[in-house]
C-alpha cells in the first residue's frame, strides 16, 4: 500500500540528487507552472510525467495522489468554465454562460494543477523524509538568527509526514467499523451521511489525540527535548548535482524562451 506522497525506496538518478537541489527545482518549477503561458506548460507537464515514469513512479501512483484532490480539481475546472472573465467565442451552454474559451481556461488551470501534483509527487516519492526535512532545515537555517525554533519545526514536519498516512489508515478503519455496524454511508440521504461523517471525524480526532499523547511519551522516552538536535543525514553537493543544476537551468531557459516566443 502506497499512500499519497509516501517515499518509495529506489536507485535511479533522481534518488541520488541532493534533497536541497530537488527542493529548489520543485519550488522553481512550481513558480514557472503558475506563471508561464499554456503551451510551454503543456510540454513541461509531459516532461515531468516522463521523468516520473522513468523513475519508477507509475501512472497508478500519480492517479492515487490525484484522487483525494479530484473534487478540488472539478471545482477549479468549473470555476474557470463558469466564471471566465471574458466570454470568448460561441457560448457552449448559453443559459449557463459557459463558453469554449471558459472550458479551455478550465482545462489549462487543471493541467497546471496536475503539473504541480506530479512535481510534488516526484519530490516526495524519491526523497526519504529525513533528507527532505534536512533540506527544509537547511533553507530555514538563517531564521535561527531571528530565534525561530528551526529544529522543532523540522521535528514537527517529520511527525506530520509520518502521521498523514497513519491518519488516513485510521479513518479507513473507523469507516469499516461503522460499516460493520450497518453504517453504510452510500445507502443513506445527505443528512444521515453528514451525521455519520461527523462521528467519523470525531472518531479520527479522538484517536489522533490519544495517539499524540502516547507519541509524546515515546519521544520523551527516547531522550527528546526541544532545541538543537543532530541528524543522521549529511548533505553534500556532488558532481551529479552540478550536472542536474546545469541541465535544469538549460531547460528553464529553453522554456522561458518558448514562453516569450509563444505569448
Amino acid at each position: 500500500m502506497y499512500d499519497t506522497g509516501t517515499f518509495i525506496a529506489g536507485q535511479s538518478l533522481i534518488y541520488k540528487l541532493d534533497p536541497r537541489v530537488k527542493l529548489a527545482f520543485t519550488v522553481t518549477l512550481s513558480i514557472f507552472i503558475l506563471w508561464a503561458s499554456p503551451l510551454p506548460i503543456l510540454f513541461l507537464g509531459v516532461i515531468l510525467l516522463l521523468t516520473a515514469l522513468t523513475n519508477g513512479i507509475t501512472l497508478r501512483t500519480v492517479g492515487q495522489s490525484v484522487k483525494p484532490l479530484l473534487l478540488f480539481i472539478i471545482l477549479i475546472f468549473l470555476a474557470h468554465a463558469l466564471f471566465a472573465s471574458e466570454v470568448e467565442g460561441a457560448l457552449f451552454v448559453s443559459y449557463l454562460g459557459i463558453s469554449l474559451g471558459g472550458i479551455q481556461g478550465g482545462f489549462i488551470a487543471v493541467w497546471r494543477f496536475l503539473c504541480l501534483i506530479v512535481a510534488a509527487v516526484l519530490l516526495t516519492m524519491t526523497t526519504a523524509p529525513s533528507r527532505l526535512v534536512a533540506a527544509i532545515k537547511y533553507f530555514l537555517h538563517p531564521l535561527k538568527f531571528l530565534r525561530v525554533p528551526v529544529d522543532d519545526i523540522a521535528v514537527m514536519i517529520t511527525l506530520a509526514l509520518r502521521m498523514m498516512p497513519a491518519l488516513l489508515l485510521q479513518k479507513k478503519k473507523i469507516e469499516k467499523a461503522q460499516m460493520a455496524r450497518g453504517g453504510e454511508l452510500r445507502r443513506f440521504g445527505l443528512w444521515v451521511r453528514a451525521k455519520y461523517f461527523l462521528s467519523l471525524v470525531l472518531g479520527v480526532l479522538l484517536g489522533t489525540f490519544r495517539r499524540a499523547d502516547e507519541l509524546a511519551l515515546a519521544m520523551e522516552a527516547r531522550a527528546y527535548a526541544r532545541g538543537e538536535r543532530t541528524s543522521a543525514v549529511e548533505l553534500k553537493i556532488r558532481r551529479v548535482d552540478y550536472l542536474a543544476i546545469l541541465l535544469f537551468c538549460l531547460m528553464i531557459i529553453i522554456f522561458m524562451a518558448l514562453n516569450l516566443f509563444l505569448s
Binding site: M1, D3, P129, P165, A166, A218, R222, A225, T230
Partner: protein
Amino acid sequence: MISFKNVHYRYEPEGIEALRGVSLEINDHEHVVLIGPNGCGKTTFIQHLNALLLPAVGSVTVDGLDTQQAHNHAKIRTLVGMVFQNPDNQIIGTTVEEDVAFGPENLRLPPAEIRKRVTEALDRAEIGDLSLRNIENLSGGEKRLVAIAGVLAMRPRYIAFDEPTAFLDPAAADRVLEIIDKLRQEGIGIIHITHNMAQAVLAERVVVMNRGIIFLDGTPREIFGKVDELQQIDILLPQVTQILIKLRKSGLPVCTDIVNVDEAVGQIQGLIKKA
C-alpha cells in the same frame, strides 16, 4: 541497579493511588517479568524506570541517578530503553532507519556515529534488510522489532517491555521473544510486562503486582507454587502447572511446583514407567 524506595504515585490529585509504597531492586543483567491483573500498576511502574513518571513520594534511582533530578533525565533515558505496547504510537520516523536514528539524534551525536549506531541496532534486532522500508508497509511483528532497534540505538543497559507480544501471531511473537532472549544473553537487563504465563516462567524473577503494591516476588517456581495467593487475584497458572495440579488431584503422585514443559514431560514419563 534500579532501585524503587517506597514509591507512591497517583494520576489525579484526588484519584486512587496507582502505586502504593512500591519498594524493589532490579539488578544489572536481571530478567524480571512483571505480571498482575489489568490496572494493578504495571505500566505505571515501568514508566517510572526512565523518568516518564516521577514518584509523588519515595524515590527511583537508576545506576545511582535519581529520577527526580531533571538534569539526570537524558542520561537515565539512555540507560533505560522503553518499548511500548503499541509500536504504531512509538515509531516516529517514516522509514525504518529514520526511526532508529531518532534517539541518537536527540543525544546530539555526530552523523557518522548515528549511522553506525543505526546499522548496529538494525543488525542486533535482525532487521537490517528492512532499513529503507516505509513503516506503514511493515507487519505488526516487524514494527515491534523496529521499536526495539530504536531503543537499542541508544545502547541502553536495561530495556522495559510493555507486553511486547500483544496482538502478534505466534510466529511473530516467537521472533520478538527470541530477540529479547538474545539481548538478555548480551547482558542487557530486561523488565518485561506480560499476561502470558508461558513467557513469565522463562524469566529469572517474577514480580506479581496487585492494586499498586508488590504482591509476590520470587523465582517462577516459587511464585507459581503459591497457587492459592495467585487464585485470589485471578492470575492463571502456566498450563503445565495446571495439568500437573489436576493430575495430582486425581490421585497421581506428581510434583506441582513445575513450570516448564520439559520438567512436566519428565514427571509424566516417570509415572508411565512406574505404571
